[in-house]
């Protein structure tokens, strides 16, 4: 594995580009252009910005979580341009691999990855496949994770995958508590840091991830399950619109 092509949005694009470069990969990137205010992308200098994906890429990454429309356009383009044997690894926390596969002509090359802001700090990465995904592609995805110096584990194909789903629901609950005036953000974080074994306070954790990405996971869970428990806390939605303050 030598060359990867990364499409997507901030901050995943930068996080993955940096990791790939650090492992000696040749990195091509194409940031989404119409993703609103999040355009303050500062890409590593060695990442080569491209307009179109190179046909010689060994692997393509699609890292858009906050817009299914853009994600779909990116995947369609990657599927069109890449040679048939090229694997496409797509962040699958805001939709299933199955749904994304229905958008492209060669769904067998599509593998899901639990790409979520700040989660690369861990040593384990979640992968997912649909029933159409072939073994060769899943193997290529696992190999890519190994190149990044991490381990992978394959989970079932489901919106939110495992960790993003659990963490976003904790963040959402903290926002519901704040909405109800249970305690201010700083106190909720203090209580959770001292009273549980969590690595971060939930409000601070939501800030690290970015409210937009948290919202995207909750919206996806709500859309895929149709269950009331996944509705977003109004205060979290407002935070998305205002940006973190």
């Amino acid at each position: 594995m030598k060359r990867v092509c990364i499409f997507g949005e901030s901050p995943l694009l930068e996080e993955y580009a940096l990791q790939c470069l650090a492992r000696g990969l040749d990195v091509q990137v194409r940031p989404n252009t119409d993703s609103g205010r999040g355009n303050s992308i500062s890409l590593p200098r060695k990442a080569k910005k491209v307009q179109r994906p190179s046909r010689s890429s060994d692997l393509a990454l699609e890292l858009t979580n906050t817009s299914l429309e853009i994600k779909r356009r990116n995947l369609e383009e990657l599927d069109r341009v890449l040679p048939p044997q090229g694997t496409i690894l797509s962040s699958s926390v805001t939709t299933t691999v199955a749904e994304q596969g229905s958008w492209i002509r060669r769904p067998e090359r599509l593998v899901g990855i639990g790409a979520f802001p700040s989660f690369l700090e861990g040593s384990l990465i979640e992968l997912a496949s649909s029933r159409i995904t072939d073994a060769k592609s899943l193997q290529a995805a696992a190999e890519f994770v190994t190149v990044l110096g991490k381990e992978s584990t394959v989970v079932g194909d489901s919106a939110g995958m495992v960790l993003p789903r659990i963490v976003c629901m904790i963040v959402n609950e903290a926002y519901f508590a704040m909405t109800e005036g249970v305690a201010p953000a700083r106190d909720i974080d203090t209580a959770m840091r001292l009273g549980t074994n969590y690595p971060h306070g939930p409000v601070e954790w939501g800030d690290r991830i970015g409210a937009g990405h948290v919202r995207a996971v909750l919206d996806a869970l709500y859309r895929h399950y149709g269950e009331d428990r996944y509705r977003i806390a109004p205060l979290l939605l407002r935070t998305c619109h205002e940006g973190s303050v």
């Binding site: 040593s123 079932g156 909720i188 549980t196």
Partner: protein, 283 residues
């Protein structure tokens, strides 16, 4: 100025809080209905203090002082000498209401009554006293000697003065008080619900296995323990009881709904570490 702290109940929490209070320089009246419970509680406290002195973390003189400051009592009326009460009895609303009604009759007019409840309404507990403004929640975490947090719960009628007193006692016990409103589960037990609830949903839907979900939360997420390891440690029955209590008190809010897996495990008697088998098997 609070000088004497009365503790109601010498179970896990009461016996943990007593030495913390004694080490902070308070006289402690430790009440329990059962002579046996009091006796084994004092044995446990002695053993813990011995460990501290042997490890060089506490002088023998200090340990003797701590021990002599804890007065185990079987007579409820003796609690009347305390100016600050921490109730750590059984987690049952009717039982707690009865204790507070009795406390109300024996303590001085300025005494503050705090409950260590983790899931019951402070407002309801306070309702049977003549001075609900002097009742607040003071929720320690287990083990009280180690855990820094104390949730200070403001009931519907709790006064600012009472909250200030509870916070200042918590600080003297070298804890970090966090004030919160009287809502089901307060801050921690409420905000932690999804850690278990979503993990159980993910397991129930076959998205990941017990070992896999635990590993993901630890190695990808940086949690010290995965949800299933933690439920085994807490006790599946205890965890289900907290979830159920929060769920009922929120009038069946779907975010807090317990999972059938939990109930099935309780029915099977696989309650976690204490029964040798839960999500994992222990030998």
């Amino acid at each position: 100025m609070v000088k004497t702290i009365g503790i109601v109940g010498a179970g896990t929490m009461g016996s943990g809080i007593a030495p913390v209070a004694a080490r902070a320089g308070f006289e402690v009246i430790l009440y329990d209905v059962s002579h046996d419970v009091l006796k084994s509680c004092m044995e446990r406290i002695k053993a813990d203090l011995r460990k501290l002195t042997e490890g060089g973390r506490l002088s023998t003189t200090a340990a003797t002082e701590v021990l002599s400051a804890i007065h185990p009592r079987k007579n409820f009326g003796d609690l009347g000498h305390a100016d600050f009460i921490i109730e750590a009895a059984i987690e049952d609303l009717a039982a707690k209401k009865e204790i507070f009604r009795k406390l109300d009759a024996i303590v001085g007019a300025d005494a503050v009554l705090a409950s260590n409840t983790s899931s019951l309404s402070i407002t309801a507990i306070a309702s049977l006293t003549r001075t609900p403004e002097s009742v607040a929640g003071m929720h320690f975490f287990n083990p009280p000697a180690v855990m820094k947090l104390v949730e200070v719960v403001r009931g519907a009628q709790t006064s600012d003065r009472t909250i200030d007193t509870v916070c200042s006692i918590a600080l003297k016990l070298r804890k970090t008080p966090v004030v919160c409103k009287d809502v089901p589960g307060f801050i921690v037990n409420r905000t932690a619900r999804p850690f278990y609830g979503e993990a159980l949903k993910v397991l129930g839907e076959g998205i990941g296995s017990v070992e896999q979900i635990d590993r993901i939360t630890r190695e990808e997420g940086g949690f010290r323990m995965g949800p299933f390891e933690l439920m085994d440690l807490i006790g599946i029955d205890v965890n289900l009881a907290v979830t159920q209590s929060v769920y009922e008190q929120f009038f069946h809010e779907p975010r807090f709904r317990p999972h059938p897996i939990q109930r099935m495990m309780v029915e099977a008697g696989t309650l976690g570490r204490k029964s040798g088998k839960g999500f994992y098997t222990y030998k």
